[in-house]
């Protein structure tokens, strides 16, 4: 075998090994960035994706749509973790079904999903898609324990020319506060795994946020009137509590 052939053979082996290692790393990375319960990406992958989009092109209009599974704690307590997990999986599958190609879905906390949509051309389209996804997600889930009601809240954040992606990151943090406050110590067997996947350093302590909000008087109350539609008058008021961080994010 000539020297050239030996060099070529060696190069081929190195290339093959490099490809094999690359595939393994990609597989491991995919596994590490995928939530085992729902198949969605993890919070860490979600933040990583946002950061990479920010680096790639600040002019790319990006939307992040949050879907929160409400009352998951109650479902967990009534029916057990297995049924609560079924609800989470169903919601994830339903959201994925209507997800466009330029979007990714992540499970960013025990009971909340976030969808990143890139190259947004119309904010109205995103809003319309959000309504359709939410309407599908809130259909009752039929489980071995019978029908389980599902409620899903949604909200949207858009990047903008002035602030770039900062609003998206601020909203991501605020959502983690709220979601973890509402569902503390809930969810599935994979919760510990999820926390590990996400990296505890990325999470904020919800109790600290709430304590700080109370101490700093950044808890605000909104009022929603209850009407009597026969007399067409306000008969009482309902209250909605909002917890803000120091920057005013909710």
């Amino acid at each position: 075998m000539s020297t050239d052939e030996t060099i070529l053979l060696t190069c081929g082996e190195i290339l093959t090994e490099s490809l094999r290692v690359g595939k393994t790393v990609k597989l491991l990375r995919t596994e590490a960035e995928t939530d085992a319960l729902t198949g969605a990406l993890t919070y860490r992958a979600f933040i990583g994706h946002l950061k990479s989009l920010q680096t790639e092109n600040v002019h790319n209009l990006v939307a992040v749509v949050y879907f929160g599974v409400e009352h998951l704690r109650a479902v967990n307590e009534h029916y057990g973790r297995r049924i609560a997990n079924t609800v989470l999986r169903s919601v994830s599958m339903r959201l994925s079904r209507l997800m466009p190609e330029n979007a990714t879905l992540s499970r960013v906390s025990g009971a909340e999903f976030a969808m990143i949509i890139t190259n947004v051309t119309s904010t109205d389209d995103v809003e319309e898609l959000t309504v359709r996804m939410r309407n599908l997600a809130v259909m009752p889930v039929y489980t071995e324990e019978g029908e389980v009601s599902v409620d899903v809240s949604s909200s949207i954040s858009f990047s903008n020319e002035t602030d770039g992606f900062s609003v998206l990151f601020a909203d991501a943090n605020a959502h983690i506060y709220e979601s973890e406050s509402a569902n503390l110590s809930v969810v599935d067997d994979a919760e510990a795994v999820l926390a590990m996947q996400n990296g505890s350093g990325d999470y904020f302590n919800a109790s600290d946020v709430l304590r700080s909000a109370i101490e700093n008087n950044t808890v605000s109350v909104l009022y929603q009137p209850i009407f009597n539609v026969n007399t067409k008058r306000i008969v009482s008021l309902d209250t909605i509590v909002r917890v803000h961080d120091k920057k005013g994010a909710r």
């Binding site: 009352h71 109350v221 929603q224 209850i226 009482s236 209250t239």
Partner: protein, 214 residues
């Protein structure tokens, strides 16, 4: 320990909300004296908290015209457990306190609480109102209203009303108390005060255009 701290903090949060409501309602009532009841969400821990009980009792003297609708979700009812029912019943005996069940109609609501606690109102969950065309949801809401009318024991509120069709349905089954974005968005105290000063407590006809035509 951490959990106890968290629960203590939750009671503090409700106390803060209660005091904010008292202050804001005092302002609202200067413009609309007929407004006398405000609903406050209970997280459960405050219902067995002595400071919360004392504060509500104190308010019966300080603000005798104000009433507070304490809204109980499944979490609050779970936190309470059976042994705390007496404490909550004492609380409900205060003249300024009304107890109510929220998220009614869902599989996570605690309809059994009606057997345990002196509830004054039930608030149908927005998911039920959204599904008003589904026969099962329709029947549940209809029957709940029938029972409330027969006994006169509790009021029924429909939460999350977003369309005139939902209002039509609620009227058709004899319901009248509704809240939702169709009629009015949630707003800050200042915004609500401004609304009261300009429109009073009246619901403008424009808020129910299609329902009026039906």
């Amino acid at each position: 320990m951490a959990e106890a701290y968290r629960l203590g903090m939750s009671a503090q949060l409700t106390l803060d909300v209660l005091d904010t409501c008292v202050k804001d309602m005092t302002d609202f009532r200067k413009v609309a004296p007929e407004l006398d009841i405000v609903g406050i969400y209970m997280n459960g821990s405050e219902l067995t908290n002595s400071r919360f009980h004392e504060r509500l009792e104190q308010l019966t003297h300080e603000q005798p015209h104000l009433r507070f609708g304490l809204q109980m979700g499944s979490h609050a009812i779970h936190v309470l457990h059976d042994e705390a029912d007496d404490e909550v019943t004492d609380l409900a005996a205060l003249p300024n306190v009304k107890l109510g069940l929220i998220h009614a109609g869902t599989t996570y609501s605690e309809i059994a609480a009606f057997a345990r606690l002196p509830l004054d109102f039930a608030q149908f969950d927005e998911t039920m109102v959204r599904e008003f065309r589904v026969p099962r949801a329709m029947q549940i809401m209809q029957h709940a209203l029938n029972i409330s009318r027969d006994n006169g024991a509790y009021q029924v509120v429909f939460n999350g009303v977003e369309t005139p069709e939902q209002v039509d349905f609620i009227r058709s089954i004899g319901g009248s108390l509704v809240e939702g974005t169709l009629l009015c968005n949630a707003m800050s105290a200042n915004e609500f005060l401004m609304r009261l000063e300009t429109m009073g407590t009246v619901l403008p006809d424009a808020a129910l255009p299609q329902a009026e035509q039906a």
